[in-house]
């Protein structure tokens, strides 16, 4: 019996890294947006936070697009 530990290990590693990374990025993006919300409420603007937020979201969108391309090429 041969258990493919390498494949299992890489699935574990990749899942962990990608999940934590994506959630972190997304949470940062959401922080940026809620900072803008607060800033707008006080009549300020938060350009840096908003730009950062959109960069984060763009990265997440790219990850989703990569996921879809994975599904398309090999399910």
């Amino acid at each position: 019996m041969k258990i493919d530990w390498a494949a299992l290990g890489s699935v574990f590693g990749v899942s962990l890294a990608v999940t934590v990374g994506l959630v972190a990025l997304f949470t940062l993006g959401i922080m940026g947006l809620s900072r803008r919300e607060r800033a707008v409420a006080q009549g300020n603007s938060a350009t840096l936070a908003v730009t950062g937020a959109y960069v984060c979201f763009a990265a997440c969108a790219a990850a989703v697009a990569y996921g879809i391309s994975l599904i398309m090429t090999k399910a």
Binding site: M1, K2, I3, D4, A7, L8, S10, V11, F12, V14, S15, L16, V18, T19, V20, L22, V23, A24, F26, T27, L28, G29, I30, M31, L33, S34, R35, R36, E37, R38, C60, V64, G67, I68, L70, I71, M72, T73, K74, A75
Partner: protein
């Protein structure tokens, strides 16, 4: 010759029926957390999942081809064996749906195939080591992989996002959850709809209707996609309730973390060649997300019941598959008996489910009152016993009563 095409037609219809149960059994995987956190309205969620499943079915035929080309020796397999396997898989799917437990449809299908093969060709036809490496290890690994990832992601999300509140955060998590749930649906469509396509193509090849090594015909792709989408749209509300509310209470951040970890683990595993069951992955990630929040509670009683169902899936479906195969072996009337048995027990299960209806309107009410599941199980045992042949009656009660065993002990805990 005419008889031959009749059995083929029966196999195709049964395979589509399995596809349908697969769809509504697995709606929960993609949409349970989205529904329970309120990111999408229940009906909208299942509709979206259905559309994506349908789309996924058309994306590729890779999975279907691995099933229909080469995995099984086509010359040795008769359509009856496939039919018997499907009967086992469908009945197990319906039974677990009735008690609201998520279990792997692929395992049910594999179990059915194994049982039917043993009954038709003997023990030697099954490779024990393949069973361990392809079924047992992934089943253990999936919830751990997805669970740990979801746990850490949830922790991080709560630590980082302390200052994230208000409308923007709420909307953001909603969007994120919908996106990752969509990805899970799409992956499910490509994987599971294609399993059915592969089975149908295998049956067509075995029956001589299609040349060996050919791609699935278009009508097969279309009908398999439609069957799984329809099943998804009907929605396995009982399982959605268990997954979304029964295991743990999820907040939007947790729902997002759970769904992201599930989508990642599913894609990573299928891409890296260590296939994991969607059901196991999602259950694990939901539990991980539940544990990741401070003060989050996982209802271990529900988790234990799920685990028992997972362990039983393969042997139970195998038993039914084997029983069905030995009856179909008796001749055409045997096949007819099995078909009637399948329809009768499906109808019985559906009838029992009407006693305690779970649908879009009450899917988010927390755990059912204790005892309902127990009575449902108690009630499910008699009908098959009264339906057909001694051979088959022996098979159904076994899984049903074993699932019931941990139950009497759990209701107090489950009611918390």
């Amino acid at each position: 010759m005419e008889n031959f095409s009749l059995i083929l037609a029966i196999v195709v219809v049964t395979a589509l029926a399995f596809d349908f149960t697969n769809g509504f059994h697995d709606t929960a995987n993609a949409m349970a957390t989205t529904i329970s956190t309120g990111a999408l309205k229940p009906k909208v969620a299942v509709a979206m999942s259905a559309v994506l499943n349908l789309a996924g079915a058309f994306l590729s035929v890779e999975v279907a081809n691995t099933i229909s080309k080469g995995l099984v020796d086509e010359t040795g397999i008769r359509p009856e064996v496939i039919f018997a396997a499907l009967v086992g898989a469908i009945l197990w799917n319906l039974l677990t749906w009735l008690v609201g437990l998520p279990s792997s449809s692929s395992h049910a299908l594999m179990g059915g195939l194994i049982g039917a093969t043993i009954a038709s060709a003997g023990m030697g036809a099954v490779h024990g080591d393949v069973l361990v490496t392809k079924v047992l290890i992934p089943a253990l690994a999936a919830p751990i992989v997805a669970g740990v990832a979801a746990l850490l992601a949830t922790r991080l999300s709560y630590t980082l996002g302390k200052k994230a509140d208000g409308k923007a955060a709420e909307k953001g998590y909603r969007a994120g959850q919908i996106a990752s749930a969509g990805l899970v649906s799409l992956a499910h469509g490509t994987n599971d709809a294609q399993k059915t396509m592969g089975i149908i193509t295998l049956a067509l090849v075995a029956g001589g209707a299609v040349a060996p090594n050919s791609d699935p015909p278009t009508w097969v792709i279309l009908s398999a996609g439609l069957a799984i989408a329809l099943g998804t749209y009907i929605g396995g509300w009982r399982i959605i309730r268990t997954m979304g509310k029964g295991l743990t209470e999820l907040q939007p951040q947790q729902g997002f973390a759970a769904q992201t970890s599930a989508a990642t683990a599913i894609l990573a595993s299928s891409h890296l060649g260590f296939s994991l069951s969607t059901t196991h992955v999602v259950s694990g990630s939901v539990m991980g997300a539940g544990l990741g929040r401070k003060g989050g509670v996982v209802r271990w009683s529900t988790a234990t019941r799920m685990l028992v169902a997972w362990c039983l899936t393969l042997p139970a479906a195998a038993l039914v598959g084997a029983g069905a195969e030995s009856v179909t072996d008796l001749g055409d009337w045997g096949t007819a008996v099995v078909a009637v048995f399948l329809i009768a027990s499906s109808a019985a299960i559906w009838k029992i489910s009407r006693r305690e209806v779970v649908d879009a309107s009450n899917v988010n009410e927390s755990e059912e009152p204790p005892g309902v599941v127990t009575t449902a199980i108690a009630a499910v045992t008699p009908p098959p016993a009264g339906t057909v042949t001694d051979d088959l009656t022996a098979t159904i009660p076994a899984p049903a009563t074993t699932v019931a065993v941990p139950d009497p002990a759990t209701p107090p805990a489950a009611a918390v």
